[in-house]
């Protein structure tokens, strides 16, 4: 693993809720262009770590660097602007808006995001809006949502909502995409195509960090793998090493009744 110039660098990231430490001094490097896998038993602190990286629950301590620039302590919209886009484990669509508009919400610095430009430069706003729509249609196609793109997002199924989460972050062309359990609730056929999609994006250079419980998915596409248990990082390395590591087995077996 290249130690120099990682895409994402975590150092001692800690998040407490009251007296409970949900993320406890997590530090690792994720190389550029990698698909990192973040696994661990339920309640290990994976989603909380994502929330801390994305600025949703700012870490109590520790540093986070994205492409060399510090992003810890930034608000979520600033983190996004810096190039980190994330999906939610429990999808958060804009239910009263169509799938197309849910996707178009992510525009690359559209002039029309500033209200006065809609009055002073309506032509430019329209041109950009058409281009954005064309891009959104492509991404929606890529995510297999074309049939429902005119429907209100609130009417989608659980699996479709997962795909919509993916579509929205794909619109951003971010430096890194954080996916929180993209395969959960998605049927096996779709899951296979989802894996293909992630691979295809990765082949174009897209860096990922993925939380996933489905071990087939993790083992087939993720390298390196990071294992968390009780807030701590207990393993990092390749898939084969994770299987052999006693602490990892312990964490998972300890999880069983």
């Amino acid at each position: 693993m290249s130690a120099a110039d990682p895409m994402l660098r975590l150092d001692g990231v800690t998040k407490r809720f009251g007296g409970f430490t949900a993320v406890d001094g997590v530090g690792f490097d994720l190389p550029r262009g990698a698909i990192g896998g973040l696994i661990g038993p339920n309640g290990a602190g994976k989603t909380t770590l994502f929330n801390a990286l994305a600025g949703l629950v700012p870490p109590d301590s520790g540093r986070v660097e994205l492409d060399g620039a510090p992003i810890h302590g930034l608000t979520p919209n600033r983190v996004f602007a810096a190039g980190l886009a994330r999906t939610f484990q429990i999808p958060r669509p804009f239910p009263e808006m169509s799938v197309l508009e849910n996707t178009m919400i992510v525009g690359a610095n559209q002039a029309g995001e500033r209200f006065w430009m809609n009055w002073v430069a309506p032509g430019r706003v329209s041109t950009e809006e058409r281009a954005l729509r064309a891009k959104a249609e492509e991404v929606i196609e890529f995510c297999g949502l074309t049939r429902v793109r005119g429907d209100a997002a609130g009417t989608l199924s659980g699996g479709q909502l997962k795909l919509l989460e993916l579509a929205r972050v794909m619109m951003a062309d971010p430096k890194i995409i954080l996916l929180d359990e993209p395969a959960a609730g998605v049927n096996p056929t779709l899951m296979a195509s989802l894996v293909d999609k992630i691979k295809a994006l990765n082949a174009r250079g897209q860096t990922f960090l993925i939380i996933e419980h489905n071990m087939d998915v993790v083992m087939s596409i993720c390298d390196p793998i990071f294992v968390m248990a009780q807030g701590r990082l207990i393993y990092q390395g390749d898939a084969a090493g994770a299987r052999a590591e006693p602490a990892v087995l312990d964490a998972y077996l300890g999880d069983l009744p």
């Binding site: 239910p95 009263e96 029309g112 809609n118 329209s126 972050v169």
Partner: protein, 325 residues
């Protein structure tokens, strides 16, 4: 016949004037989910700004700059916009019910200031003699009112068109996204605080414009024109017409103002004299009744929200859909 016509013109002037404020509230509540319970306060700021800028100069009262009508309208928007920036910066992080309580309190405060700050507002007497620009143009109140209606129609059309431009573009889409899920919107790069403040200020500017049109028409301003009942009326107009739909906002203004004035008319005729003092309360109860009926049977209003925001996202999606079985 002339009587009906002149009454209709009078009715439309007031209904559309209030409609401008309903458009402002629609931007705040309908599109952004900001609960502004202090609409009357922003109408007051606009109305008093109009009176000060265009009214006759008087020794006892500050203001009376005798500026043109249009300057009065613009000044009213600027004044209410500035008030909204200050109030918005103080309260915009207060969400939902907190914002409602805060804005309600602010509106009451503004009204009390109008009552008590005599050197500027003229106190309980208000400010009189605000020139209606149509008086200098033609003779006869029918023609004057017809011209004023034309002015109000033009202002309403500009406000409506300008708002449609906004809410059907990227900015409007962001408003809705923030309304529906602020956390998700922020995670997708939107700055909820900035966008909410912008919507709040623009909406309040329309309320100020509405207040100015009102004062310019009736020719005086009184603190008792901006009691909380006005906020209630404007809210009812929005809910009845259809939140998050600008056509609905205007339709609601026409319908609710119609019910309000007609009920006033009938109360004056049928209610015994000793009850006349309560006529305002009877009207308010009627409006409340309409509100409840709409909320029960048509919770999204007469014309509700459309799921497509962008002009450029509307037409096509249907064509790709297979026919429902």
């Amino acid at each position: 016949m002339i009587g009906v016509l002149s009454y209709l013109i009078f009715f439309l002037i007031l209904a559309l004037t209030l409609g401008v404020a309903v458009l402002g509230l629609n931007l705040q509540w309908g599109f952004t989910g900001l609960f502004n319970a202090g609409v009357a306060g922003f109408l007051a700021v606009g109305g008093y700004a109009m009176a000060m800028l265009t009214g006759p100069s008087r020794a006892a009262v500050f203001g009376g700059f005798e500026l043109p009508f249009v300057v009065g309208l613009l000044g009213a928007m600027i004044a209410s916009g500035l008030a909204a920036i200050v109030i918005g910066l103080l309260t915009i992080r207060l969400r939902h019910e907190y914002l409602a309580v805060a804005t309600f309190g602010i509106a009451v405060t503004i009204q009390l200031v109008c009552v008590n700050w005599e050197p500027v507002t003229g106190g309980t007497l208000g400010l009189i003699g605000i020139p209606n620009p149509t008086k200098a143009m033609v003779e006869g109140s029918l023609a004057q009112n017809a011209i004023y209606l034309a002015i109000v129609l033009i202002v309403t059309a500009i406000a409506y068109t300008g708002l449609q431009r906004l809410v059907q573009g990227p900015w409007g889409r962001t408003l809705k996204a923030i309304r529906e899920d602020e956390t998700a919107a922020a995670s997708l790069g939107k700055n909820p605080v900035r966008i909410r403040l912008e919507a709040f200020v623009l909406g309040c500017m329309l309320m100020g414009l509405s207040g100015a049109l009102y004062v310019g028409f009736i020719g005086y301003v009184s603190p008792f024109d901006f009691l909380p009942i006005v906020t209630f009326q404007i809210w009812t107009m929005l809910i009845v017409g259809g939140s998050a739909n600008n056509r609905g906002a205007l339709l609601g203004a026409l319908i609710v103002w119609g019910v309000w004035t007609m009920s006033g008319f009938f109360i004056a005729r049928v209610v015994p004299p000793e009850w006349q003092a309560q006529s305002g309360a009877i009207q308010a109860v009627l409006i409340g009744l309409i509100l409840v009926i709409v909320l029960l049977f048509r919770p999204r209003g007469l014309i509700g929200e459309e799921i497509h925001v962008s002009r450029h996202a509307r037409s096509a999606p249907a064509d790709a859909r297979p026919e429902a079985p």
